[in-house]
Symmetry: C2
Subunit: 405 residues, 2 copies
Amino acid sequence: MEVTLLDRRNFHLFQPLLYQVATGSLSPGEICAPLRSILSRQKNTRVLLGEAVDIDPRAGTLTLKDGGQFEYDSLIVSTGSKTSYYGQDGWRTSAPSLKTVEEATAIRHKILFAFEAAERETDPGKRTAWLTFVIVGAGATGVELGGALGEIARHTLRYDFRSIHPPDARILILDGSPRVLPSYPPDLSTHAEGSLRDLGVTVKSGVKVTAVDAGGVTYEEPGGGHQRVESKTVLWAGGVTVTTFGRKLAERTGAPTARAGHIEVNPDLTVPGFPNIYVVGDLALAKNREGKPLPGVAQVAMQGGAYAAKAIVARLNGPKDLEPFHYFDKGDLAVIGRGRAVANIFGWHLSGLFAWLVWLFVHLMYLVQFQSRILVFVQWGMEYLTFSRGARLITGEPVKDAEVE
Amino acid sequence: MEVTLLDRRNFHLFQPLLYQVATGSLSPGEICAPLRSILSRQKNTRVLLGEAVDIDPRAGTLTLKDGGQFEYDSLIVSTGSKTSYYGQDGWRTSAPSLKTVEEATAIRHKILFAFEAAERETDPGKRTAWLTFVIVGAGATGVELGGALGEIARHTLRYDFRSIHPPDARILILDGSPRVLPSYPPDLSTHAEGSLRDLGVTVKSGVKVTAVDAGGVTYEEPGGGHQRVESKTVLWAGGVTVTTFGRKLAERTGAPTARAGHIEVNPDLTVPGFPNIYVVGDLALAKNREGKPLPGVAQVAMQGGAYAAKAIVARLNGPKDLEPFHYFDKGDLAVIGRGRAVANIFGWHLSGLFAWLVWLFVHLMYLVQFQSRILVFVQWGMEYLTFSRGARLITGEPVKDAEVE
């Protein structure tokens, strides 16, 4: 059996820790692992750097961006999701989101530069706008970003400036849901909100963002009134939509799609009518035994990938009926800051230090490379002891209109 | 006494290890330290993010890029040098140099992408061009880059590809001098060249590069004939010239300059006629007691900075005669690869493993932050054991026309 891994990037990105790159705790190299080195011992597998832009599912060919063609017998599509600005793509420029390494370093640039600009600003109104940080979205990413920003302002930068007092920074999380982490049990949402409050982060729930521009955000309150927040740093932790290739796949196969373009797959994760095309990860809309859609999280993607690989091998070894994909939910974890996290594991609701230790252990274990694990462990150890952040660099373009697919 | 540190960047870059970022061994965060955290305990010092573009040395004011003005009583100018393409600025696009973090990641992109492109290329001629790497310049940077490229091709990537055999890569160092590391004693140059040869690197000495473009390099041989090398990856490790602000300072003060624009300073490192303006580092042309110009290396810059600070304090404490600046030369070190280095320390010529251990120790000790030191030590330990490179990421723009000042 010959396997080809086709990817636009030459590395695997460990997405759950990307917010730590954006907030200066880790370097990109620590949460990325080169695909070739992960697979270098797997001799039947080749890695190709390239981007699939089209597919002919009847002929079994992919078209690459540079015009090349690629043939397959079986295909696993896992192109994931990209950030959705709910049709307001103009907001992207003012409010970057957190999907790629480039965006993470651009957000790091934006956050750190805001404190630098505030230090030099003499006009009190403008200074306040530089020291106001708004995060749109109160899911795991929004909560993690908010908590990290709270720690940066309260601890990391506390003694580093002379004209401003970083703990005075205003950090705001806006979300349409009635509570943070809406997919978690309500008591854990309450815990998370308390932890955020301890770090000086204000949560506005049930609000609707109506405008984002370079000067700030306007939102509609539950009562109906409009509020304007002047802020030079707006970060987007909102929803997702499918990638361009995902849309192309749906178009070419005629597969049914859900609202945000996710492909409704068969119980064995194949595209209806194409038993040799599997869709796994964020692009797929798979369902559990009760018919409830599975969430777009890493666990579902990882288990889906393993299932698809086994299914292909089983099919090559002769026709037999394979059990449909069954998702084993290990639970949910979200971190807010040092010693603060919430976890919902097999129905147990954990919060505080213990949840944080579980979070730490799980994330270190899932980090792909042994070397990264040691480095991240050292970085986190130093950060825990000193509240310092080793990767507080303002590099690259100020804020580039990063490609987010 | 009030001190202001004005810099365009918010971090200190440990330049001697920048080639390790370019070759995927280290992440930018590991060789950079935020200025604010270095100076956070020094309460009389403030850090400002800004770029000086002009000076009025009689009024004692600096003009910043954003239009702001800044007054000083005493000034230390250490704006360093930028890469010189010997008047051929068009070569910059095809042959990036190694001065900034952004350039280092761009070079990393270029090197790693070349192997990826070769893996996909089917035309033998084009594949050879992707697998040919040319470094212009055989000083410390050129030798370090060449050695690291040799290790990447021979060890790191050895088993990672299926269509190409990375050790077949051709690595070429071109230089006008008759030997590599021309500032070192001849026996160490011979050692270094032997180590490079062991890593599959070819050195062409005494040649003159006459053209650089996207397709390769043309050079003139000592005999006079012209050679063309088809290569998709040309890296520039040539000479340096002074920064724009350095030129402005010379213009405004009427200071004498050397050929590449370096300011010829007084024995106390001040600009002639301006006893309150000190120039240290690569921008200055200081001389030792025998009247020989001091080299543009980190040691001279560090000792110059310490001297200028002491001189200012002494002058504020009352007029007295200060000893002229005396440079204490601790020696030179250049690394070629794992266990391979050359060193000239107090007249002792060291090479091989022992020189490499000295290099390791010195560079770890001078890394500014304790945290970075531990991380780099771990990274190097892993790399030594496994030949892996933890930061083999292709990120950012393909090759951007980076600002190199």
